[in-house]
Assembly symmetry: C2
């Protein structure tokens, strides 16, 4: 599988779990939520119901911590059969607030890689989630200077990326996306004939999982660490 | 006050209360919220406390309906002294969901104006709030075709607009912003030497109010209806 990276002009980086830790904080929040509701259901059931609630609310709320917090509140009301103490609801709101206030923990090699690549390419940050939250994380990260700008996408499907390329006024072959999610950062790009490189993170949200069938025959490469990028582009 | 609009290349339109009704829905939601809590406080006090809560949460939550919903829940817990029935919390969540599901009601002349201007200029939608919500409203509005793309800004201060112009690769004198909020759509543009035209809407959120002192001597024009734009640019 020979992939020609020489046509690239712009590189898009996913943010959460590609540049910095994120999914880990959601997992911690889910554990805390299950603990708060342990009087009503088993941890497993709570996990499943919260996931269902998040997916059900996705079309209306979209991604991000505010959406997640609203889904936790709604899920808790139902799981408790509407007998939830007010103090527990306040604790749920605080789980969300604490997530928004988390420090940014950069993944290995990030700064070095961005510094090198920003000399040769226009870099953009292309992420889902809340705009304000992502801007805040970018600022906390100290990486602002390497990016031309930040693009927050409401979703990361083929059409969202086509719109993005249109907005950037570039051809698909001139765009490379780098990210940890096959579903969101890799396959849609391959579908629209842009390029993508996969950098797995140790945790993946169930909603971002893909089957082997979906990746089979798709033209993209996987690297172990962001540092490997420097050998490729 | 002579303003030269001949240098303009890109026109940014605010969305909420400039192209379509928005503040009206927030006012309705606030009334509904006050009704739900009428057993605990006077409508006036409830209004004041909700406003305080929203402003307090702005740095963390930003703008938009999800932020507003979370602030309503938190405010209700406090106003009830943590004795809020679970059913009321569910109703508050539903106020937010209903707002997200509202139809889009275009203001007078919008389509005609955009259609004319899109032939001469690159138009962008520049708005605060939730990205997904704004994308959905743009889609429902049927106006998508007139805009090059949508820019959701986490805030609308001088620095946000400077970043936007940088991202658009244009000079301040080449950008005109059109919107209903002096604070968010007009004054920051005048400050960074771009151009702005004010189209007032009959309702203004208290947070968007400015004093006469802030506008005195500032170089911008006010029009009564969006249609007047066609005589100016």
């Amino acid at each position: 599988m020979e992939i020609d990276y020489s046509t690239i002009k712009v590189i898009g980086f996913d943010a959460d779990d590609t540049l910095w830790v994120n999914e880990t904080y959601f997992r911690e929040a889910e554990l805390e939520f299950a603990k708060l509701l342990s009087g009503f259901e088993t941890p497993n059931k709570i996990d499943q119901e919260l996931f269902k609630k998040e997916i059900g609310n996705l079309p209306l709320y979209g991604y991000g911590i505010k959406a997640f917090t609203l889904s936790m509140v709604e899920c808790a009301l139902e799981l408790s059969n509407y007998t939830l103490p007010n103090a527990t609801i306040e604790k749920i709101l605080n789980i969300g607030k604490n997530m928004l206030n988390k420090p940014v923990e950069l993944l290995d090699g990030v700064e070095e890689v961005l510094e090198q690549l920003s000399k040769k390419y226009r870099l953009i940050l292309a992420t889902k989630g809340d705009l304000l939250d992502q801007e805040r994380k970018l600022e906390k990260s100290g990486l602002t200077t390497y990016f031309h700008h930040i693009e927050v996408l409401s979703d990361k499907q083929n059409a969202n990326y086509s719109k993005l390329l249109n907005h950037l006024d570039i051809n698909p072959s001139e765009f490379l996306m780098v990210g940890n999610s096959l579903k969101s950062d890799v396959l849609p790009l391959v579908n629209i004939k842009a390029k993508a490189i996969h950098v797995p993170f140790h945790n993946t949200w169930a909603h971002e999982m893909v089957t082997q069938k979906e990746t089979s025959g798709k033209k993209y490469e996987t690297i172990n660490t962001l540092r490997d990028l420097l050998k490729m582009v």
